[in-house]
Symmetry: C2
Subunit: 329 residues, 2 copies
DNA sequence: TTGAAAGCGTTACCAC
DNA sequence: GTGGTAACGCTTTCAA
């Protein structure tokens, strides 16, 4: 690997001058610049990011913490982040925290040690103290806090919409799944649904679920029908759980959406391929990722940001696990 | 951030000695060691990876190139890699190449610039020349080449199994989907299926598909039934495409598996939640990721590796898009 | 058993 | 316009 010294030598100048052309900083004669550029070309020289980072105490890396990329919602999010970061020349170190505080701290630690220039975190822990004394810009994604800028979807509204839609489409014995308690996003959805159900003055059941993992989803689905065999409408805390419920409902011979309506949350790519295609509350995951990246970049470059707490709208995707709305709306 | 100098000062020793205890190298008196460890503790000192990396020309980062994390097969793979790397203290820079050679090169470039210690690549390009003069260990994942160690699944055998199963379960007018031509893994599956069909001496159709993306999958599904409306068995190139076909078949009112059998490939987590649950050829994605990580680590540490070309077995997952096998097997 | 100092590749200050 | 050089935080020789 060629270094700046080699380039300097080849061009017959000092490293200082080479550095100047590299960074487009300070004066350098047009002829010298050309000479240097030729040398760079010939040697196929690429500046060493590590050396740069050491001196400047800033790399071009940013840290991204996810709960678990295997949840299909997160690949979308993370591509949004990556694509936007890419445009600005930043790269990602990604860590899956698995809702383990220790892993999360480990990754943050790694980020610091590698001079990342900022962090985007989509984890679930209530306790964000490990982000406090970081002296690094942090953007929260898919969650909020008053201590850090954030990008999230309007889960509360999503919950309301889900409740409204399922009721107006005729479910009488609705069951709300209350996702993991520590998962702010899930709780907002849940609260929104509860509030709307109360406003609408209709009864409902609540079933507590404590994870979003695929394997657990099936367990919740079974439990749901054991505990509330006569439920005719389910508002799930995300699409994976909704898919599992749909699956279990088929197994029990229920007719969807006639016997049972289901509304999910997220709108993961596969949800439209389910049978019947899943009605769900769409979160604009990819765009959320991009917004978070944008926000972080603005923070990094000290641009003014008008809005530090970005909330994206959600949208009811009518598909076929819900019935047609009755005429009166 | 505390530096080694601060620690040295606090402990009343030189940085050299601190470095020695940090790296457990060379002699250092037990008392001094204790002193230094206390100082480290008190200052909450963490060595700067960047400085280390600059000197040693090796970081603790490894580069992972994926085609697109949104394809549900890859989150599994990448978690396998990440978890295994984690155990050994390595972290991942992840890049999605989107099958664009330029992005791939960009990422490789970034990896080099950041002194990654090795690369795992799961991309599709035939041309691997950009991996050649890297002077870095490279492990290919989900593909092979005689120039680099690799971990892949036995797609050929998978194709054969799929063909065998679909025929013995009674499909007479099988359609084979031939995935993207540049995608080695897809071609192996296809070839295996073709060979088995020939061995079994049964007719079949071939439909060419040129991508694995969600949005395209629906297109292929529609096209399939336009071109081969009477097909009664489909071997799809992966589960996403299979899901789309299943979806389209429902739309057309076909009864699965009676009118049509479908076999996918990958066994993504959602495939068992489809309706009917998807019969598929399982690739052990997570384990493949781990194996690749293991192999790379061995390469890095110059451990002897017995097998540089690891091929993992695949397995037919009988679910309900295929009929029961007839008695004679 | 310990310390001084060179060096990793870069940037930025200060002279010239 | 340009060059010399200290500095970034660490590891490793070499000498003591």
């Amino acid at each position: 690997m060629a270094t700046i010294k080699n380039v300097a030598k080849k061009a017959g100048v000092s490293v200082a001058t080479v550095s100047r052309v590299l960074n487009n900083k300070g004066y350098v004669h047009e002829d010298t610049r050309k000479l240097i550029n030729e040398a760079i070309e010939e040697l196929n020289y690429k500046p060493n990011e590590v050396a740069r980072s050491l001196y400047k105490k800033k790399s071009r890396l940013i840290g991204l913490i996810l709960p678990d990329i295997r949840n299909p919602f997160f690949p979308e999010l993370s591509r949004g982040v990556e694509d936007e970061m890419q445009k600005h020349g930043f790269r990602l170190i990604i860590g899956n925290a698995d809702e383990k505080l220790e892993k999360e701290s480990d990754y943050i630690h790694t980020f610091k040690q590698n001079n990342v220039i900022g962090i985007i975190s989509a984890t679930n822990h209530r306790d964000l103290s490990h982000y406090d004394d970081l002296s690094l810009p942090v953007v929260l994604l898919d969650r909020t806090s008053d201590k850090h800028p954030s990008v999230s979807a309007n889960g509360f509204d999503g919950g309301r919409q889900a409740a409204r839609e399922i009721v107006r489409r005729g479910s009488k014995r609705v069951t709300l799944l209350k996702g993991p308690a520590e998962l702010q996003a899930a709780q907002n959805r849940f609260k929104g649904a509860v509030e709307e159900m109360c406003t609408l003055n209709v009864n409902f059941n609540v079933m507590v679920t404590t994870s979003f993992a695929f394997d657990d989803a099936e367990k919740w689905a079974k439990k749901l029908f054991e505990e509330y065999p006569d439920t005719d409408g389910v508002i799930a805390s995300n699409d994976v759980v909704a898919a599992a419920i749909l699956h279990e409902a088929h197994r029990l011979g229920k007719s969807i959406p006639n016997d049972l309506q289901i509304i999910g949350f997220d709108d993961i790519p596969l949800s439209k391929l389910l049978f019947p295609p899943l009605s769900t509350i769409r979160q604009p995951a990819y765009e959320m990722g991009r917004e978070a990246a944008d926000l972080l970049i603005k923070l990094i470059t000290n641009e003014k940001v008008q809005e530090k707490y970005i909330q994206m709208p959600v949208e009811f995707m009518e598909r076929q696990t819900t019935r047609k709305a009755e005429e009166n709306g």
